[in-house]
Subunit: 225 residues, 2 copies
């Protein structure tokens, strides 16, 4: 399934439309943004906009697909091949918070905020991509439990605790606030991984975790590029 209604050679223009529409929808919500307003912000007539976009729901779907591409490229693809499951999760949390705290994330915010707006096949498709991420976290965690590195909690509760901590950041993070993205990353990684560490597991004892105070780079810096 690919976003329809566009010509391949209109790629740059199309991407610029998605960016502009994402900014408006992020500010005003999906229902609060009209196609007329999106066209005007893109300096297009409404008819001109419909040259690129079939309809408003198709536009939302295209933005969410683009957001999932961003997320998968900047988070999942970068950590998927890390052999150690704890390092994989740690690096994943780091990169996910980076994505949410950096300005380019409006498409990701729309995925989070308009989660119930899409319908039918389009919703099914985005939901499947989201579920793959939940399964990725569950399975890295289960692997770490098998290896004796983490305690045997319920993998789904662990995955959604991870996601809740990390994704909620978009609601409260302020780029000019007291806490930097790096401090938030270090604090959350510390809290979350200390909470899951098996007693006495190598590299994840309380003593090790205690040394990860905000501002000090974590072992996640050693991830593969």
């Amino acid at each position: 399934m690919t976003p329809g209604g566009r010509r391949p050679d209109d790629g740059d223009r199309y991407k610029a439309i998605l960016e502009t529409a994402a900014r408006l929808i992020c500010e005003r919500g999906y229902e609060g943004t009209s196609m007329q307003e999106i066209a005007a912000a893109c300096r297009l007539t409404k008819a001109g906009l419909y040259h690129y976009i079939q309809n408003k729901e198709q536009l939302l779907f295209a933005i969410m697909s683009y957001g999932m591409d961003l997320f998968e490229g900047q988070v999942l693809a970068k950590v998927r091949d890390i052999a150690d499951p704890v390092e994989r999760l740690r690096s994943c949390m780091r990169r996910n918070i980076e994505l949410v705290t950096h300005g380019a994330a409006k498409e990701v915010i729309i995925i989070l905020h308009e989660h119930a707006t899409l319908t039918g096949e389009a919703r099914e498709y985005i939901d499947q991509r989201k579920k793959q991420y939940v399964r990725f976290i569950e399975s890295a965690f289960s692997e770490a439990v098998k290896q004796g590195q983490m305690r045997p909690l319920d993998p789904t509760i662990v995955a959604f605790s991870f996601l809740g901590m990390v994704l909620w950041v978009y609601k409260w993070f302020k780029p000019d606030g007291r806490l930097t993205a790096e401090q938030i990353i270090n604090g959350m990684v510390d809290l979350f991984f200390a909470g899951l560490a098996a007693p006495g597991a190598a590299g994840s004892s309380s003593a090790t975790v205690l040394s990860l105070v905000p501002g000090v780079p974590t072992a996640a810096g050693s991830e593969k590029p």
Copy 2:
């Protein structure tokens, strides 16, 4: 500040209107719900609805105020006087997850989802009530650190990690799903408090925490009613 535009003796009718409007807004979003639809669902004319509600934003504000009342009554008021700060936080997490997983929470979901929709004074007022909750968590945590029960992480990161885990539940919890609210509560309490426990602190060592597997009631059961 109280929700305006209503007669005191219309209280029951007014509350029923808020309930109905909250259900619609929860399903369709604020921008996706018209006053006409709310009136119809309340079996009122639009003019009849405006007898109770000044305008749509006033309605949203009234729903959010009611949601904050619910939250403060069912969570904050019940745990505020627990002397031990760790028990206070533990009980708070338990009660907050209960609120989010139980059907009556549509007003709370609207507070979470429409966080950027209100404007001006009304928004300021709701934001202040939310900030009081963040400060409550921060200060209970700081107290626990002072007493040597918890590790000295940044209180704001700790508070928003707590809130992220707990409030994100509204996005994924299914009443007929595999996990019960009780299992989610026990898993999250276990993970979060193990992550914060000071090494060797009484009642919060890894060994104690390990015994809190899902399904087994936690020490939070001992809270004051």
